[in-house]
Symmetry: C2
Subunit: 196 residues, 2 copies
């Protein structure tokens, strides 16, 4: 459902092929809040065309395979604008990592702390990548003169805020585990900073 509206959104700004949508829009511009593989993009385009939200034209190319270029219809625009202006119910919060934490007492404290630390590294890497994108985005569009650039920036800020919150929580949780280890007198087993 969501991919439908993302694709309509990209096409609202101009005609695009499935290849464009996959490589330029989904993978490059929207990857910090939505993902989709190639098969899903093409099948969604088929479906949107069947629903008369899009039309398509073959563009013959020389030196490259031919393209099927999609254009949004009036009905598609109406459908998109309705969806954009509607406040949808929050999806359930889902985080498989928290299953690991919830049952973390099955593990030794060392093993649990290790899982948390590795997750922290992954989150930090993702945050750094987002920061780079935000910086280059700011370079490209100056002081966000136009609305689309500002909205783009806001989505990057949201993703960065989520990563930062996750990292802060990981740090707090690791502190809690460490203080527990100290209390129970088993700190020699854990967190040996004097080693390696």
């Amino acid at each position: 459902m969501s991919l439908d509206h993302a694709i309509l959104g990209f096409l609202a700004d101009g005609d695009l092929s499935g290849y464009d949508i996959k490589t330029r829009c989904v993978d490059r511009d929207a990857s910090h809040f939505w993902t989709a593989d190639q098969a899903q993009v093409y099948r969604t385009l088929d479906r949107l065309e069947s629903a008369r939200h899009l039309t398509s034209k073959q563009k013959i190319q020389t030196g490259k395979p031919n393209r099927k270029v999609y254009r949004i219809t009036q009905a598609g625009r109406v459908h998109l604008d309705d969806w954009l202006a509607t406040s949808h119910a929050l999806p359930p919060y889902r985080d498989a990592f928290l299953i690991q934490v919830y049952f973390g007492s099955e593990l030794s404290d060392e093993a649990l702390a290790d899982v948390l630390e590795r997750t922290r590294v992954q989150r930090q890497t993702r945050l750094s990548a987002l920061r780079e994108r935000a910086t280059s985005h700011a370079m490209e569009v100056g002081s966000s003169a136009n609305r689309p650039a500002l909205m783009h920036r806001m989505t990057l800020d949201a993703a960065m805020a989520a990563e930062r919150a996750a990292i802060d929580w990981l740090d707090d949780s690791l502190d809690t585990l460490r203080s527990l280890a100290t209390e129970s007198g088993s700190q020699r087993q854990l967190f040996r900073e004097d080693q390696a």
Copy 2:
């Protein structure tokens, strides 16, 4: 995949029926980080039994329908512990709401602000519910004497941190939209605090 491990985790602590897992575990204890409907729980139990991670016994009851009570096997425990101790790749960050923000320039500023504000209300409601659960959890288990209770608390903290981050971002974004409205001199159209 994740539900498999959640169910193994619940059964690691004692035998349970599908009904127990759905009502007591999934809906009550784990709903802030995972959800599943009844059909999925029962089919997952079937699958885990086929894979020899669980065994089941019919318990005859009088006055109530009979129960099928599941028990984790040694293989199931090993499978669970392996998964718990493994650092898994972060799933892609997905947020359908950010699709709305990304294409928000399709909308009027009023309409966009309205969507943000409604989302804020929903997030705040969810945060309040989480806070209540955290409070009653603290009442029940005292100062988290046991590890499982501490882990439970940590998952609640993670969910609350995510909600708080989302709310803070919404507030910042609404401020930005308001300042833009003021700059462009159209503040009379927007955010009329003197009305109604």
